[in-house]
Each structure stands twice: as C-alpha cells, then as structure tokens.
Symmetry: C2
Subunit: 352 residues, 2 copies
C-alpha cells in the first residue's frame, strides 16, 4: 500500500532555489550542449548594430540584465520591445542589422513567439533563450540557447531566472570573445549562500506583517531589485515596488516612511557606488533599510544580509537574488500561503 | 497694508492641471516657435535607424509613449536608455544612425545632460524636449523642442507631462510627414474633462482609506497607467503599482484581491481591445475595478469614469491622465497632505 505525501507549502520552490548551484554547474559544463557557442558564432558573423529583447515577467528582468551587458560591454544601443506593438498594433519595423533575443522559461507564450516570428520576417537575427528546447519560441528563432535549468514546477520562477542570467552572460561575453572563466566560482558561492538559509528565515520574521515594501538598486543590480519585488508580490502578496536608485529620487521617495521597509541592493562595484547618493536620502526620511550587499554597506544599515565576496560585479546578480528568493519563500509560508501555487496564477502564462 | 495669502494645499497643482488645455492650444499654435518643425526636418534629413530615449520620473512615461509611436508608426527599433550605463559605467556605444531624444521638464538633471553629451560625441543625432529653453539639456542637444507649458511650480508634474506627450506626437508625426490636424480637437475635449472635476472629487471619497492600488492598461495607454501610479504615489503616498495588462497576468495578478483597487484604462482602439483578456481575469479574483475609458467598458465595471469621445487612440493618453491627476490631487488634499510639496521631494531632482 502506498500513500501520497501531502503537499508541504513551498516545497517545490524551496527545492528549486536549492538546485541553483547545480544548475549553474550544469550550464557551465555544457556551454556547447546549451547552444551558446553556436549562437555566439552566429551573432558575431552578423555583427548586429542594435539589440532588442522581448520577454515578460521574471524573464523580463533577465532581459534587463542583458540590456546592461549590451549597453556597457558591447557599446551597442539596446531596448526592450513592447510586444503589443507587433502583435496588437501590427507594427512591421525595419529590423535589418538588429539582433532580437526572446527570453522565456517555457518558450510558450504566443505573443513572444509571434514577436520573434515578425522580427525574423523583418530582417532581424533572432535568438531564443528558454528552458525548453522543444518550445515554440525555440522553433521560431534562428538559434536557441537552452538554459539547462531542468523542469521548473513552482509557479514562482527561481532557478530558471539565474540560469537565464548565466546563459545571457556566457552568450554575450562569448560574442565579444571575452574570457568567461570567472563564472566558475559561482556555484560554490551559491552553495555558501544557501547554507545561510536560517539567517533569511530570521529576517522573514521581521517583515511578517509588512504590507508594503520597496526595493532599490542601480546598474547591474537593478534587475535584482525588480525581480525581488516580483517574487515578493507573487508569493506573499505584498505591494513590493522596485525603483532604480536614481528614479526613486524623482518622485517615489515620497512613499518612504518608517512603516515601509526598503531593501537596498548594494553590491561591490559601480552600481553599488552609485547608491551612495541614495542611501542618505533614505536616511533623511527615516527609512527602515535592509541592505543586501557588501560588508561595509550592510554595516551602515539598520538590517542586512552580507553577500559573499568573490564574484565580479557583472555576475553579482546571480547571487544577490538568492536571499530574496528565500525571503519570499519564508514570508509566504509564514503567512500561511503556498508559493508553489500562488492564487490566480498558473505556471505558463499565455498572453496575446 | 498687504497680507500674504496662506498657502492652500494643492492650489498650485490644481491650477496647473486646469491650465492644460490652454497649454495645448499654445503649443498647437506655436509649433514653429516650439522648434518642432526644425527638429523634425533635422531628424528626417538624418534618417535614423534606431531611436533611443533618456528621461526619468514623469518624463520617462512621456518617453515610453514616444517609444510606442516610434515602434508602431515609424517601424524603427526603439529603446529607453539606462543613464547609468554612460554616466556611472562609462559606456561609449556606437551611436551612428541613432536618434537620441532626452526628455525633462527642467532640463537640469546632470545625468541626462551627460548622457546626451556622450551620445552626441558618439555619433547620435540628439534632440532635447524640455519646458525650459535655457536649460543645460537644451544646450547639449543638436535641436531643442520647447513644450511651452509655462513655469511649473507644483512638485507633482501635470501640465508639463501632457505638453511633452503633445510635443512628441507633433514632432514624430511631422518627421514622417503625417497630418497632425486631428490634435486640434484636444483642448476643447480637455476643457470638457476638467468641467467634470466634481465626479472625480466624489470618486476620491471612495478611495480615502486605500493604502495600495494597481493601475493597468495596454499599448498607448500603458504610459498612462505608469504616470497615474506615480502621481498617486508622490502625492498621496499610496503604494500604487502599474502593470501592462499582459505583464499583470505574469505574476502580479496574485496581488489582486477585493482590498486592492484596480484602475484599468480602456480607451477606444487596439490597446483597449487588448485589455479584453485582462478584465475577466481581474473579475475572477473579485477585483474592485475602476475603469477609465470608453462608455461600454466603464459600464461593465464596478466604478468608472467615461472619457470623452473624439480623440483618436494615439492622442487619448493626453486625456486619460487628467482624471488621475485630479484623483491624486483630491486624494492628497483629502488625506491632509499638500501635493504641491510632497514630503522628501523638490521640484528639480539632480541625479548623477
């Protein structure tokens, strides 16, 4: 006689968060199998003048990360496409000399597939980055990169997000012939982070009754702030809002008071340094700041979580998001929710 | 003997909201004085292949509107630049064949000025759209468009926003030689909207105690949802979050319950039609929806505000935002605040 184990809330999300270092190891060992070198060769041979990204939800934050990579390291103009322009409005832009990268965990959303199809017909070189080699998005593109994260079953995407970041880093760095060996340090750093789950569980107690939250960062870490806010929203139903540190000062700073916790990501490097103007303005408003970042920044804040040293700024987003994934998990479960199946959501979202 | 009148909270914002139709008339009558035709001629002569925008805060929402115009009506790839890539990270992208448009009310934020300077040095054609002809941003660009909104003194930008939308519409339509005479109907429609202030004052009572709000729209109206959320945040300190209707279904839908009011902008046209998939999903979650839009959409919602007919979809954003500006004003004043001087903010925000 067999019994079916009862579903423990959040166990899928917890397992997939924990799988991340293994997923990164798999991708680093399988760059060729993932299709990264083939896609990089194709992109290099076409020498695009502009790079566009199309994605939604969590994948949109991976796209934003890649947009920074393109702007900073490739010196090319980049943009995030509004899919409705091509699907609903029927725009048929001139996309010669354009690389369009579509990013999606499932590779199944019809509006993304349609956008890549139109882009291809309009002259763009198209690359799909998905976690599903057999997906319609992969089929629609000239080249496919498989992020090799393995099946993701929790509705809240975690391992597919960091695998997307790593795949995009490897792809775009290899396009310009850069050495990507520094990424080899990531899996061990990820393991060390995950071993500190109890710190995050304690932190989650502190935010048990928070209804509103702000997240903020600059540069490569800004996508972390965006993804952290989405994770908190979709699992714990808090109104979490993300702002670049600079945009925060252009209006949303008025929101800040001691009742709205602020999570500031302050990694080592240029983006973290650019947050130096933002933190004093938060202090003026008596904000309750939790700093996720390097030791000196964490020490200066009311609360914090220290990120491990050893990753360059450009790879820090893979590590930074992990404490937020764990926070979202603990907060959701602590509030009696089930982050594996948030209300109103299903794993694959089909938008037209 | 003269006495100084005491400051009535929100009187500057109220006056500037009310001035909008007059500002639009001034701009429509002064297209040449605003520098629009000269800038349009210059852009046409250079035939850019890609268009980038740089802006922050409210002006970023005008940039997003213009991005839709470029993508849909010009058939060119477009993007919103992250200023930190050029200012903090020192990126020096290849911007030949690129048009970069910087948008700012004051034209004074150092990071925008620096971004336009770098873009110009990197080969881009640069255009500044400001409300201040003598501003550093105007001086940094090849061409300047003055939105002619007159001095704006309320910290919460209102008339400068709709003047930016109109100036960008006129500029980009004239670049492609289109007839812009349809815009002549806007000022009278704006006057008719403003005459219905009492409807919005009544609506504000309904949201007196709301701490969280969502706004949503698609297509040309999506910038309205973004700007409405910012206006509510910066004046009334509510956690107002904006999502494109499609992105809402990819995660944030979990936030929706009957305690979080949703403002849906459903104008006539493609963007409003694309909201048809979103509204039933909101109903499934028992959302309290206030619809700002065309009569049939408003009739189907719990609460609503009917927009006047007579403007094409592409110009609807100028009208759609007006009820939200009034709502933010009434809500802020009703809560004892002063939207002319929100806590923590000053009129000109200087970010580096």
């Amino acid at each position: 006689m067999t019994t079916v184990a009862p579903h423990r809330p959040g166990h899928l999300m917890a397992a997939e968060i924990a799988e991340q270092p293994a997923a990164w190891r798999r991708l680093l060992a399988g760059i060729d199998a993932a299709g990264i070198d083939a896609a990089a060769d194709l992109i290099r041979s076409r020498a695009p003048r502009t790079v566009l990204f199309v994605a939604r939800g969590t994948s949109d934050h991976a796209a934003l990360y890649a947009k920074y990579l393109v702007e900073i390291r490739h010196g090319l103009p980049a943009g995030l496409v509004s899919p409705s322009t091509m699907t609903a409005y029927g725009a048929r832009p001139d996309l010669r000399d354009v690389l369009m990268i579509g990013i999606s965990q499932s590779g199944g959303s019809p509006d993304l597939v349609r956008t890549l199809e139109v882009a291809r017909a309009q002259g763009a070189l198209t690359v799909a980055v998905t976690n599903s080699a057999g997906s319609p998005l992969a089929a629609a593109a000239h080249a496919h990169v498989d992020v090799l994260a393995g099946p993701e079953r929790s509705v809240a995407a975690t391992k597919s997000y960091t695998a997307q970041l790593l795949a995009l880093y490897l792809l775009l760095e290899r396009v310009r012939g850069a050495d990507t060996s520094v990424a080899a340090a990531l899996p061990d750093l990820g393991d060390a982070l995950l071993a500190r789950d109890a710190e995050i569980a304690a932190l989650a107690q502190r935010y048990r009754f928070a209804q509103r939250m702000l997240t903020t960062a600059r540069g490569y870490s800004y996508p972390t702030a965006r993804e952290a806010a989405l994770k908190l929203m979709e699992t714990s139903y808090v109104s979490a809002q993300a702002f670049s540190g600079a945009d925060l000062l252009h209006g949303p700073l008025a929101l800040v008071d001691p009742q709205v916790p602020v999570f500031a990501v302050v990694a080592e490097g240029v983006g973290g340094t650019a947050m130096r103007d933002v933190l004093p303005r938060l202090a003026e408003r008596s904000a309750d700041v939790c700093c996720v970042g390097h030791p000196a920044a964490v020490e200066a804040a009311a609360t914090g979580f220290t990120l491990p040293a050893g990753a360059p700024e450009v790879l820090s987003p893979l590590l930074e998001i992990v404490p937020f994934q764990l926070l979202a998990l603990h907060l959701a479960v602590g509030r009696g929710g089930d982050p594996d199946a948030p209300r109103g959501l299903s794993k694959i979202t089909e938008t037209l």
